[in-house]
């Protein structure tokens, strides 16, 4: 093989290796890109992660929206978790408070985190929480049970096509992870 070709090969390989490294980086870049994309388009059903200030909306009494509440546990976490109401009919613009109940079923202290999700996903940006147990990790003493309020409002700008909104919470047992920290 002449030196000329082997020099050409080396240059080409260098370029291709750079492509490989860039694509590895691109894989990781997809993580923040995904969050930004979901944020802009609002398609992921994520609600506000910190408390919003309570501002007064004009109450829209022309229509009622059904809000359903669902509770779930991740990997059968040892928690009793339920919603006081299965569903509630609400007027857009009016504030409501509903209660959830969670109980640590172990004899040890527990750190747990509830993650909310709204469906249909595109309705999430009109569902505003001013108070929620999901804004931070919850600590439970051994066998402790807690009633936890959620205060929310539906933005009257919610498009007419949405008649029912489902708010689902999944509780994750984070005890092990927080011990490590």
């Amino acid at each position: 093989m002449s030196d000329n070709i082997s020099e050409k090969n080396k240059r080409l390989v260098r370029k291709l290796v750079i492509v490989v490294l860039l694509m590895f980086g691109f894989g990781y870049a997809l993580v923040p890109l995904y969050d930004v994309f979901c944020d802009i388009t609002g398609i992921n059903g994520k609600t506000n992660e910190t408390a919003e200030n309570e501002i007064a909306y004009e109450i829209d009494k022309r229509r009622e929206i059904t809000v359903e509440f669902m509770t779930a546990l991740n990997e059968s976490a040892p928690i009793l978790f339920k919603s006081e109401l299965k569903k509630i009919k609400v007027y857009p613009g009016q504030y409501y408070t509903v209660n959830f109940y969670a109980e640590n079923k172990t004899d040890k202290p527990m750190v747990a985190r509830a993650i909310p999700s709204i469906s249909p996903g595109l309705a999430a940006e009109y569902f505003i929480k001013t108070e929620c147990f999901c804004f931070s990790e919850q600590t439970f003493k051994a066998n402790e049970g807690k009633t936890m309020p959620v205060r929310f409002v539906i933005d009257p700008k919610l498009p007419d096509k949405y008649k029912t909104i489902t708010l689902a919470y999944t509780f994750f047992d984070n005890t092990e992870k927080s011990v490590k920290k």
């Binding site: 090969n9 390989v13 490294l21 694509m23 894989g27």
Partner: protein, 538 residues
């Protein structure tokens, strides 16, 4: 002194070097033909390992109820079968053909980076051994499906880190192989072999190699995220820490969809190389074939979420991915049309490679059509994760990729070893394969449409009949493949075999440079680039 001796050594003509003797020849070889042979033998062994796993699956599914294996092991089998077949059999087999044929097809003396070539082969072996070792671990082999979806995959036992590192090794191996192929094709062509005169097998591999270097690093990144999620408390895919499991599916299928084309594009290239020889006509629409391949490769990057229609995408997303996916049918249709048009009014003969190639055109088209059915988002909600998808991708992989690999084997084996294979036995192998593969996979369409989910060890009784038929087909198909091994060994030994002529197939020298070489091919070829290149394939 020694420097002088080495100098003298180098002034010799390279052609009279034979291969080194003994086992070290294979371990340290940098010869593209040796490495190609090793890839092909390795792929064939893995084809039987993966096939055995498939037969365990089909044996369990022969009747409803639990028969032979427990559900955890059954799930390990579906997962390992896929990993072994994709990364151990089909991909290495095509790399084997690339190693053997690309230098000979473009008039180069060897691959551009022979040592890296050796290294990529042995890393492949290491990767496969690593993943195979998980079968004997506490907690069993990975059982969450070859797609490794979290959170389920994070419940894998000790096998998870081994599976992740195996993916890294396999990824590095394919990336090195791909870089080598690109460098060979771009820098090592004979002066008169311009890009638009290259045989289509070379073209499709060039494009495939670019796909590989674009996607394998992304997959390596995704499994690394799984690893850190499990062991280092990151939360890429853990909702409790602000991550999202659906994100994994997006990253995976950004890799996964081009990956399935990594397995089918060289198939297209091989078919386009074989069919003209036996139709005794130039390939119809050479340049449209090249552009169609490029178009398919490009589209493969922008359709990934059609694997995820049911995760809860907004309607606009479903529509986009639906239409983009259907677009792929156009370049693919161009290809099927061209193969058919190549055969049209050709002086066709039906030797075994051609039989496999024709079966490929017919059966791949069926697999393509079921793909088109599933591209329709609302319909996919019913087909998703049922046996319908299993039938679909097996039609595009077994009677397509695997059949074409068999065709390639029969096509070039006489050139490689200098002996003709036993045509009668080979045809029997073909007919057994072609009939049994349909008995095996066709009923799975019905099962899927009737609602039988995939990846389950037991099923409702109404699925019994078609499962039984499918399993019978599986066993006939599996055992027929042993004939291939027998035929290959017989041909290599050469006892009672006809000697192959230099052109092997009538007028093949008009179709490709490799047929201008003597049979069997010498250990070193094209030390000086060829003067004339055949243009019949244009």
């Amino acid at each position: 002194m020694s420097a002088v001796a080495a100098e003298n050594e180098h002034t010799h003509d390279h052609d009279d070097h034979g291969p080194a003797k003994g086992i070290m020849r294979w371990i340290v070889t940098t010869n593209h033909k040796d490495i190609g042979t090793m890839y092909l033998i390795f792929a064939l062994i893995m084809f039987f390992v993966g096939g055995t796993m498939a037969l365990i699956i089909r044996a369990e599914l022969f009747e409803p109820g639990m028969q032979f294996v427990d559900p955890q092991f059954f799930n390990s089998m579906t997962t390992m079968h896929a990993l072994v077949m994709v990364f151990g059999a089909v991909m290495p087999a095509f790399v084997g053909f690339a190693n053997w044929m690309i230098p000979m097809m473009i008039g180069a003396p060897d691959m551009a980076l022979p040592r890296m070539n050796n290294m990529s082969f042995w890393m492949l072996v290491a990767g496969i051994l690593l993943i195979a070792s998980t079968l004997f671990m506490e907690g069993g082999a990975p059982a969450a499906g070859w797609t490794f979806y979290p959170p389920l995959v994070l419940q894998t036992g000790n096998a998870l880190p081994f599976a992740v590192f195996a993916v890294h090794l396999l990824g590095i191996s394919s990336i090195m192989g791909a870089i080598n192929i690109i460098a060979t094709i771009l820098n090592m062509r004979a002066p008169k072999m311009t890009l638009m005169k290259m045989p289509l097998f070379v073209w499709t591999w060039l494009i495939t190699a670019f796909l590989l270097i674009a996607i394998m690093p992304v997959f390596a990144g995704a499994v690394t995220m799984l690893l850190t999620d499990r062991f280092f408390d990151t939360s890429f895919f853990d909702a409790a820490g602000g991550g999202d499991p659906v994100l994994y599916q997006h990253i995976f299928w950004f890799f996964g969809h081009p990956e399935v084309y990594v397995m089918i594009l060289p198939t297209f290239g091989l078919a386009s190389t074989i069919i003209p020889v036996f139709a005794r006509k130039p390939l119809f629409g050479y340049s449209s074939m090249v552009y169609a391949t490029g178009a398919i490769a490009f589209l493969s990057f922008i359709v990934w979420a059609h694997h995820m229609f049911t995760v809860g995408m907004p309607i606009s997303g479903e529509l986009y991915f639906m239409y983009a996916t259907m677009l792929i049918a156009i370049p693919t249709g161009v290809k099927v049309f061209n193969w058919t048009a190549t055969m049209w009014k050709g002086a066709m003969t039906f030797e075994t490679p051609m039989l496999f190639a024709i079966a490929f055109v017919v059966l791949f088209t069926m697999g393509g059509f079921t793909g088109l059915m599933m591209a329709i988002a609302p319909v996919d909600f019913q087909y998703h994760d049922t046996y319908f998808i299993v039938a679909h991708f097996h039609y595009t992989l077994v009677p397509a990729s695997v059949f074409i690999l068999m065709a390639g084997g029969y096509f070039w084996l006489p050139k490689w070893v200098g002996n003709m294979y036993d045509e009668k036995l080979a045809r029997l192998h073909f007919w057994l394969s072609a009939i049994s593969v349909n008995i095996l996979f066709f009923p799975q369409h019905f099962l899927g449409l009737a609602g039988m989910p995939r990846r389950i060890p037991d099923y409702a009784v109404q699925f019994s009949d078609w499962n039984m038929i499918s399993s019978i087909g599986a066993f006939i198909f599996g055992f027929s493949q042993l004939m291939f091994v027998y035929i290959v060994i017989k041909t290599v030994r050469g006892k009672d075999c006809e000697k192959a002529t230099d052109e092997v197939w009538e007028d093949a020298h008009k179709h490709g440079l490799e047929w201008t070489l003597p049979s069997p091919v010498p250990y070193h070829t094209f030390a000086t680039p060829p003067e004339k290149i055949p243009t019949e394939h244009l």
